[in-house]
């Protein structure tokens, strides 16, 4: 896959890091401000897609990246289910039990396990959308015209 022109490349160089940090901000503060795992995950995927579109990678590098992203996605999904099962082990016998202390409303470390769910769901959404994009690119690369 070819990259784009120099204007897009240089702008992506400066902007992509900022988009990524904004996505992490939306995920981590999901229980205080608008946003959360779903919104932030899509923003993270957007920054990765921007870099891939602007620079264009070698074919084998793309395949390697796809394998890594697949593993990340599966791990994130397993983590969500493990936290849900954690309700059985700590406290009462309820699936999806909020077993950590809740803290006071409005602080960063509060709301028990909700920030953890946010982080893992964000990772999962980001990696799954990025996988979809990568597999479309790889399909175009490897199939004959």
């Amino acid at each position: 896959m070819k990259g784009m022109s120099i204007i897009v490349k240089k702008t992506a160089q400066l902007i992509s890091g900022m988009i990524f940090i904004y996505g992490i901000y939306v995920i981590v503060h999901g229980h205080l401000t608008p946003g959360g795992g779903f919104a932030g995950g899509v923003i993270l995927a957007g920054s990765l897609i921007l870099v891939t579109l602007a620079y264009g990678e070698e074919f084998f590098k793309l395949v390697r990246e796809e394998m890594g992203t697949t593993i990340v996605e599966s791990l994130a999904t397993i983590s969500v289910i493990l936290i849900a099962v954690g309700g059985f082990l700590f406290g009462s016998k309820i699936f999806f039990n909020n077993f950590l202390p809740r803290g006071t409303v409005g602080e960063l470390v509060s709301a028990g396990v909700l920030p953890l769910y946010n982080i893992f769901v964000g990772t999962e959404v980001a990696s799954s959308i990025f996988i979809i994009f990568l597999s479309l690119i790889i399909f175009k690369e490897e199939s004959p015209k």
Binding site: I6, I7, T11, Q13, S16, G17, F20, I21, L108
Partner: protein
């Protein structure tokens, strides 16, 4: 070096976004900036020493005012062409040779040209910019180069090169 600069910049951005100085927030910001610099550090601009020279920021502020003035002039011009009943437009693509060397300077020049109404930079090949212009005033390369890039080029050279 690139990684460290990106780490510091993203940390500043994080603090501007959240604007609270508790320990938990600082730790979260540090972890986020670490992940960000690991992912995007190899793409960041290479010669980061230029970020520390205050002279460049001074010229950047002056450049903003110059850009604003050019933008207002171009706005009035395009509004006149749109509102005039005969619509005096003569679109075309011109090839402008620039004397700027670094890629970042070329990017800034192209984006400035795009953001003034009436001109859009289509592509950059080596050191030539291809620009779509709403009214091609002259076909002589020396004249239109001075018209399009003359106001910006010397400031950009002082900011980035």
């Amino acid at each position: 070096m690139k990684y460290l600069t990106l780490f510091i910049l993203s940390m500043i951005l994080w603090l501007m976004l959240t604007f609270e100085f508790t320990a938990a927030n600082l730790i979260a910001g540090a972890v986020a900036s670490l992940i960000c610099s690991l992912f995007f550090g190899r793409l960041f601009v290479s010669n980061v020493g230029k970020l520390l020279q205050p002279r460049r920021y001074y010229w950047f502020v002056i450049y903003l005012f110059v850009f604003l003035w050019e933008c207002i002039k171009a706005n009035v011009d395009v509004a006149y062409r749109v509102l005039h009943p005969a619509m005096p437009i003569r679109p075309g693509i011109v090839k402008v040779r620039t004397s700027l060397k670094s890629d970042m300077a070329k990017m800034l020049l192209a984006n400035s040209i795009t953001m003034t109404p009436g001109t859009i930079s289509v592509d950059i090949i080596d050191d030539c910019l291809y620009i779509h212009w709403i009214y091609v005033r002259s076909e002589d390369p020396a004249v239109y180069t001075a018209m399009i890039t003359g106001a910006f080029e010397k400031y950009i050279k002082k900011i980035i090169e």
